[in-house]
Symmetry: D2
């Protein structure tokens, strides 16, 4: 690919922003050329401005980059990764899209917009076509592509595999979510010590609606949502990284846990996707032990990009019980966004 593509990270000092910077270090295609931060931090070096919270060290090449405001011109940068809070994303992302930048966003601000895809390469690569719709409709030279809520990423991939094989009608989903999902400083240690918090603001709504769009069909320039019904409970637990979700799934066509296990284990990526640098290897890992997946042991499967499932067993009301785990700040946030960008690159969308 010759020279690397210069990219920006918007909102680079927060916990997802840090994950972008860490994952982009040594990326074979991309190179961080710009970092943006709040007004308070702009003008400071990244090393100065950022309270680094990841266990991997801050990449050397990022330390001396100077933070610019998030609404600044990014000059030659044509690809930006957004870790902005929803409110800032609402203004900054369309501004950049208008000026020709493709924004791969982890923010929820535009996920519900009709012409903005929630892209998951394993599930709906054809939704990339919404970018055309977006550019036509909004007169943008660039565009916005989002990735899904961190809780629903692994779940959507599992649903895709089951939907193709058996059809999916309804599901109950109960999550036990990691602390890093709340950003930094996020949850107070006093609130979660020796505790569970059975509530995460706005989260259940996202879990109940985003998969319908993600699993929807693209036709006539728009997405027809999948006909699945979801009921969700979302909980915060004292885990650093890795969201665990208990699923009870009702299928169109009955299937045994063994049959479902085969389908999940054999789920493969389309050819053009399999070779992307961030493509999960394997896409879904099926654990056969009685007590897996577990966040501490399984979140880094496939470098944090693989969806790990286990405890496949029958359900007394629906058909299948499954436990799904995925890394919320890698697969479910920064890593997912980078993976999306890789797909856009191979489809020539950055060369216009």
């Amino acid at each position: 690919m010759g020279e690397k593509i210069p990219v920006a990270v918007l909102g680079a000092t927060g916990s997802v922003g840090q994950r972008f910077v860490q994952l982009l270090s040594n990326h074979p295609w991309f190179q961080v050329a710009a970092l943006t931060g709040s007004d308070r931090s702009s003008g400071m070096s990244y090393a100065e401005a950022c309270h680094w919270v990841l266990s991997e060290p801050m990449p050397e090449e990022a330390r001396e980059l100077v933070l610019t405001p998030s609404d600044a011109d990014l000059m030659d940068v044509k690809l930006a990764f957004s870790a902005l809070p929803a409110k800032a994303a609402l203004e900054v992302e369309p501004y950049l899209a208008d000026s020709g930048v493709i924004v791969c966003s982890n923010a929820s601000a535009y996920r519900t917009a009709e012409d903005v895809p929630i892209l998951l390469p394993e599930v709906n690569p054809e939704h990339v076509a919404l970018l055309d719709v977006q550019q036509r409709k909004r007169g943008w030279k660039g565009g916005i592509v989002t990735n899904s809520n961190c809780t629903i990423t692994g779940v959507s991939i599992v649903l895709k595999a089951l939907q193709e094989a058996f059809g999916v009608k309804r599901l109950f989903a109960v999550s036990m979510q990691a602390l890093s999902g709340a950003g930094y400083p996020g949850v107070s240690a006093m609130d979660i010590a020796d505790n569970v918090i059975p509530y995460i603001q706005d989260e259940e709504d996202k879990v109940e609606t985003e998969p319908l769009k993600i699993l929807g069909t693209f036709a006539d320039g728009r997405i027809i949502p999948a006909g699945i019904k979801i009921s969700a409970h979302t909980n915060r637990v004292a885990v650093s990284d890795g969201h665990t979700v208990c699923l009870s799934v009702e299928l169109e066509e009955r299937a045994t846990p063994e049959e479902a296990g085969v389908v999940l284990g054999e789920f493969t990526l389309a050819e053009g996707i399999r070779g992307l640098p961030s493509a999960p290897r394997p896409p879904i890992m099926v654990r056969s032990e009685a007590d897996r997946p577990q966040p501490r042991l399984d979140r880094m499967a496939g470098d944090g990009m693989t969806t790990v499932v286990g405890r496949l067993r029958p359900d007394l009301i629906f058909d299948l019980r499954i436990v799904v785990l995925s890394h919320n700040t890698i697969r479910g946030a920064a890593g997912g966004s980078i993976y999306n960008a890789e797909l856009l690159v191979t489809q020539g969308l950055l060369e216009r």
Copy 2:
């Protein structure tokens, strides 16, 4: 009541045994007269033999009691609380029952026996009548009364209130269970540090079946199980005490969360039960905050005997979503057993 009733605690050195000893200290009706332990510990004083794990101190009056083997004669003691492991309970409990002792047991060994009640005074005080059946059928002078699995205790009380008001058809139940539920030493700290374990041996089966018996109807000398269908996922989380359960409930008759909240908040105990020393005050506490109940904040409600519920909201598939919390070693184990014994005392069952 004049003099206190002498009681024994079987398996007194384990974590539930310790809870029995702690709760029986200063009990208005009962006085610990005998403690039993394993062969290894028998002959030792309780203070010597027991690695005390509760944050309340070991009661002074228990320190010097000498442990006897669990299958020893308990002499004048007519009431025993069993914290035995299931396997030991299988042999010891009927032996004592045969010799005239009423055993209030936290063990699961006899919960599925047709003629042994799983007694919950809030829910099924009439099941006490099974003791007669038991004595007739087995020729015992005493008997065995069990309390339910710790995860299902609070859930069964909530179901009782909803069943009376609206009827209950089906429910999904996903638990996040405390460490003390696994006994001592139980879970390894290395397994639960920064982790969730989505598996507890045999637990889901208990959650799916015990409530049917508890909520069943006593007629013609036996219990006709309730016609409810339950699907369960059970998980271990890094919480010391207090089991949290997410419920999605399908009712016979539709009800709004507000209506359900009123029914739960107004749930009252039968008159003969309300005055028992361990009766929860209130039986059910309905929290209106968005993020309650939480184990650290709510487990000690009503001295650990109250069932705390919150997050009442509609369910996209069934009718209601509710979060239920109860203290697993007080309400769900030792405290529940003592409460059962109090009920038996008021019904004259110890005086035969």
Copy 3:
């Protein structure tokens, strides 16, 4: 005492403020008559304004009290407990003292002032006399009495006992401090999950200097600091409540661990102090087990007011190694302040 004394809690919505409100509920001498909060919360009811974080429920009688600004006139209230942040304390406390209020303060703002005592009834009840100095010098009708930093409270009591018996020359102190010591929201859960933070801002300086004043001699209207040298390391660990401190102590006169144990266990309070409602019973508890004290098991000794020590053993460099534990928000903050106020009441200082 006839009618209860009306008191105010300044900064009532923070974590120490909440502890004041909780401990003052049902206090035999005091009754909460006023609560103050930030500008944002003033005018709201306490139940509305306060995110309650204690596991004990919010006292019913406090729920409907309306918050006033911290610099408001407290009218008839002559006794105020201050849980203000240091900066606010700097202005508000002298303002109230000037207007005739006795302020028992947990803030660090005036601890280093020459004429303000750091009062610990076990250690230096005679330092109360500084109030006279204060009133004379500053022209106040009321005054300020502080309690010590939470880490040093238990340590100072232990040092007092050892100083009286053997003399104390130097000590190394390494703390492992609870989350509640940082206030609310305080430490981010992401920072402390699976972690230790070997740093607490300004804390080591307080540990090295406050005990010298506390253990100092009152003479000629001022305090002559004790001639003890302290070196401190302070650390934050994932514990909700209870500070643990490892001490290596050099004595004037050699003593064995056994001799020290006897001295600590027999440490008694002066007669006028022993009967105060908050006086710890016992003042020092000496645990003989190899692995105590532990925060979860020992912090509530004496209702959270007792200092618990253990692991008395020789030191290869100095004389004694000891582990000291005390509850940081009860003994080391709100409870200590209330105890101080009780002492002031018995000395007639509120009746002027």
Copy 4:
């Protein structure tokens, strides 16, 4: 080096044994050829017998290896890594040493033996010469080389650097140790939840004595212990991996924290050691932030082999305060043993 050297891991199913297997996977010089386990597990495949607790997956090539008893003949294997419990090590290690195997042991059984080195390549590579003494004295064809207690590894490296530059006289060391140091299942989750345990059996004695031997001088066939005095407190905290130690150090020659920082940061390995596959890069990392090192953020520095120090500041009693962190199962156990074996290989000790 042509073909890889076949090695055995003794006690391969425990937590340190697992770490050996994980670190030896893809080692450039060594290949696991034999795994030993308890009688219970011998004959089973490693995948069957081992409850894997590391977050890195079990290496594929180890899964099907069949466990043999620990006292079995290891045939052609001339190098064994011992993760045996102390008691088993006492018998098995000399048996193998006698039969020609070089045993690099993490067990404490022979650390105090006069002719057995506690080898730390950064500190005392010349102690390898004790192997000759050992073989002569005991008539062994192989030998035993131990690595130090996990808590003292990083501390000894820091002391070496300070000793060379300034001389070290006395130190206070207070540790906060990770759960993995207790093996598996090790600490009960109920004991450490919301808690600190200020006691680790036999640990303080090791911390006070092992560094004297490690830093000792080899002369006339024996080690003359270093003349340093250490006083230690050891504590268990709720951290998965990484031991943190607070040090107060008295030097022969006064030095400022800045001077000490330069000496520690510039500490370099001898030429023959620098190139070993497991040599830490850098040997010591000096962090300048106010709140580092921290176990979660710093334990994996240099792939878990680097000693991380920070918080260099003056000491009011001695000269320097320092916080030292090292990974207890990598640098302080399996990784250290492998590093030792690499040194032995370069010195031709496996070719006799």
